[in-house]
Amino acid sequence: MRHLHYPLAAALAAALATGAAAQDKPVKGGTLVWGLSAEAGTLDCGGTDTFAVIHTVAPFYSTLLRVNLDKYPEVEGDLAKSWTISQDGLTYSFDIHEGVTFHDGSPLTSEDIKASLDRYRNPPAGVPSFRKASFEDIASIETPSPTKLVITLKAPNPAMLLNLAGPNGCIYSAKKLAEDPKFPITNVMGSGPFKFVKYEKGASIEGVRFDGYFKKDKNGTQLPYLDGFKGVVFSQPAAMINALQGGQIMGEFRTITPAQKKTLQETAGDKLAFYESDWNTGLVLAFNTKKPPFDNVKVRQALSMAIDRFTAGKALSQQSILKSVGGLVRPGAPYGAKPEALKDLPGFNPDIKAAREKAKALLKEAGVENLKFELFNRSTTQPYTPSGVYLIAQWKEIGVEVTHKQVETPAYREGIKTGSFDVALDFLNAVLEDPSLTLNKYLSSSRDSTNGSGFEDKEADALYDAQLRETDPKKREALVRQFENRVITQGAQTPFIWWYRTVALSKQVKGWKMSPSHLYGQDFGEVWLAQAK
């Protein structure tokens, strides 16, 4: 058996272990009531990339693999008992747990896993799947027996195992999919720890313990511990914070802001526990390279150099969900560079005075000493508004005048798509922290439409493709560094700052594990409620 190897896994796992309440003995019973800050519109895991779908349906489904939150980001089996990868990295053979059943009592076999994965990678007409591109390397999926699954790749892909562990990989019943491929869009029927009870759109989702769940804890106790759960939808953060303070909900699992944390500490600090982690989502500056002067690399570099990211990390963390300085990959994540390693790249020099002098010189060389432009941003307060305000102040330091244009998200996305902006504050959501699954944003615009800069860089594309196939972790890391250097130096899109996650939970809630992704740990299979004192 070959597990995914990540160089920084051990160190990170130790840091994250604070989330687990390992010393308490789990007890059965109780209903977890929690707040859901968004709704997806679909109940299909592959139908949308928003976290809301996972927060809504994760407790009802199993996945083939999953991320082990005690050893983040190591991959562990969920439906898979074990697996092997062939020496050439092309064949993945999985042994599936026996005796697994869906909530309707039908057996779950490798055929169901195949049908689900096939649906994600080759969605039938009328079924949207945002995961299609990430499974393009899969050549075939075979099922030699009900408990054997063999996935064959077209080419080696070291990101595939983590990709298969993604939370958006719910396993559906092959029978249901055959009857109606759109079944999971509006119905829930899985094999996860909880059975679906009801979903009232805009209001709540409820689940009850599935007694036939195939997993037991390390002491042999049948999971899940909870009798059930109820996720209550909140459309306004203040209402959710009030409900947390008033004890109407036991937590929320995306994030709260520093101001909300302070309020909760002051008003309900004795009842709540706060879990914190770096977050695998980051802000990215996109320069419209189709528009002068942003087609000039010197201008882009100058504007990046003017930003004091290190002060931003300290200052913005007081009022927003931003904190960590890093490159294209989250610092602390596998293949993530420490800020010190980036100091020679534009925008990462800790000596901001010197950096700004150089920025002014570059603007002079480019002939745009009196530069004025518009920062295109979302009207979402967190974390976009404070970031925009901070960036404008930074650019003013080198004599650049910037106006702030904030629009609603649909208009923002339209502006990025049509290139109707000067400089935009974009974001990167790295749910599955593997360079192949997240760095695509920095590929040429013709290869990845999430790159709003319109920039084409064949050299960077070649480096990405090389790391995509490199199975030696050390060689791969070197390629990732080269890619990162190339992208940040060209500066068409450049990282600004990474987000920081804070989860407030009732002290009664145990067994939930914090991680850098708000999509992990949401099946509540091992969550339990301590007796109220």
Partner: protein, 319 residues
């Protein structure tokens, strides 16, 4: 009268078609794409092929005139289509929220009327007294403070003073009347306060005006009891403009309680409307606008009928 009502009902048809056409065209000029939001909302790497397939499926790639024709046929056949975001019929999306919204609107209207009638009458009868000044202050407060702000004050008071909050999920009144009322009375109070302020001022000014009319002087000269003068002669006439305001405000409450619904975490039509707009869910926005239009037109019709009832001199469509 029956002929008049029938005529008004027939007038509704071109009005609603006009609204349907207008909202269709207005939505198409709003920037944004529901497919982008759905598939790339959190920045996923989705190929253009997948995006286009979804646009095709939702009919967004079809020529505008075809989409328009579909929509108009749908309106004519009472088929508002499916929400592009949730794939659920628009009628179901609206129906699941309508009960809550209409109940808040009715409760707020009752609160407004119960407050406005006595306060407006007292304020008019004791014009310029300390009582009048106090009521005017009360109403100015209601006009000056947005309902959502009053709602926030109510929530924070309940939480910080009484350590209690209203239920966070809706229970229909026939399932658990206590849970239902204890959740909805607070937004109804927040909204009803502003609503009552508008009405109180209207009732006050109308009564002051009516009390100066000749027929009031005549009634008093005939020795009619003051209570009858006010109740039968003054109030009945003073209520006519108030009823117009009542009708307009009630119709507004169906789609206009956006922020109040968010403050109290109510899953109502206003919240649904905002969500649909922010997601560019054309079909759902169109459906909600049609509902609001129907409610406005129907409310206006009811107001006109009430006019005729309250003022026998008003006769529609007759000779």
């Amino acid at each position: 009268m029956a002929r008049y009502i029938l005529k008004r009902l027939l007038y509704m048809i071109p009005t609603l078609f006009g609204v349907a056409a207008l909202i269709f065209l207005m939505l198409r000029v709003v920037p944004g794409d529901i497919v982008e939001l759905k598939l790339r909302g959190d920045g996923a790497a989705v190929s253009e092929e997948v995006i286009q397939a979804e646009r095709e499926r939702l009919g967004l790639n079809r020529p505008l005139y075809e989409q328009f024709a579909d929509w108009m046929v749908g309106v004519a056949t009472f088929d508002l289509g499916k929400s592009m975001w949730t794939e659920t019929p628009v009628v179901d999306e609206i129906a699941s929220r309508f009960g809550l919204t209409i109940q808040v609107a009715i409760m707020a209207t009752i609160i407004a009327v119960l407050l406005a009638l006595p306060l407006g009458i007292i304020s008019a009868l004791y014009k310029d007294s300390w009582l009048d000044q106090f009521i005017r202050l009360f109403t100015i407060g209601g006009l000056a403070m947005p309902s959502f702000w009053v709602g926030m004050i109510i929530i924070l008071t309940l939480l910080n003073v009484f350590n209690w909050l209203p239920p966070i999920t809706y229970t229909p009144i026939w399932v658990d009347p206590l849970a239902n009322i204890s959740q909805l009375i607070w937004p109804a109070l927040a909204v009803g306060y502003r609503y009552s302020a508008v009405l109180t001022r209207m009732v006050r000014s109308q009564i002051i005006e009516v009390m100066l009319e000749d027929y009031i002087r005549t009634a008093r000269a005939k020795g009619v009891f003051e209570r009858l003068v006010i109740g039968r002669h003054a109030l009945r006439n003073a209520l006519l403009p108030a009823i117009t305001v009542l009708g307009l405000e009630f119709a507004f409450l169906i789609g206009g309680l956006v922020v109040t619904e968010q403050v109290f975490n109510l899953n109502g039509i206003g919240r649904l409307f905002v969500q649909a707009v922010t997601k560019n869910d054309f079909t759902l926005v169109q459906g909600i606008v049609m509902l609001i239009a129907v409610i406005f037109i129907t409310t206006n019709l009811i107001v006109d009928i009430l006019y005729a009832y309250l003022d026998p001199r008003i006769r529609y469509g007759g000779k």
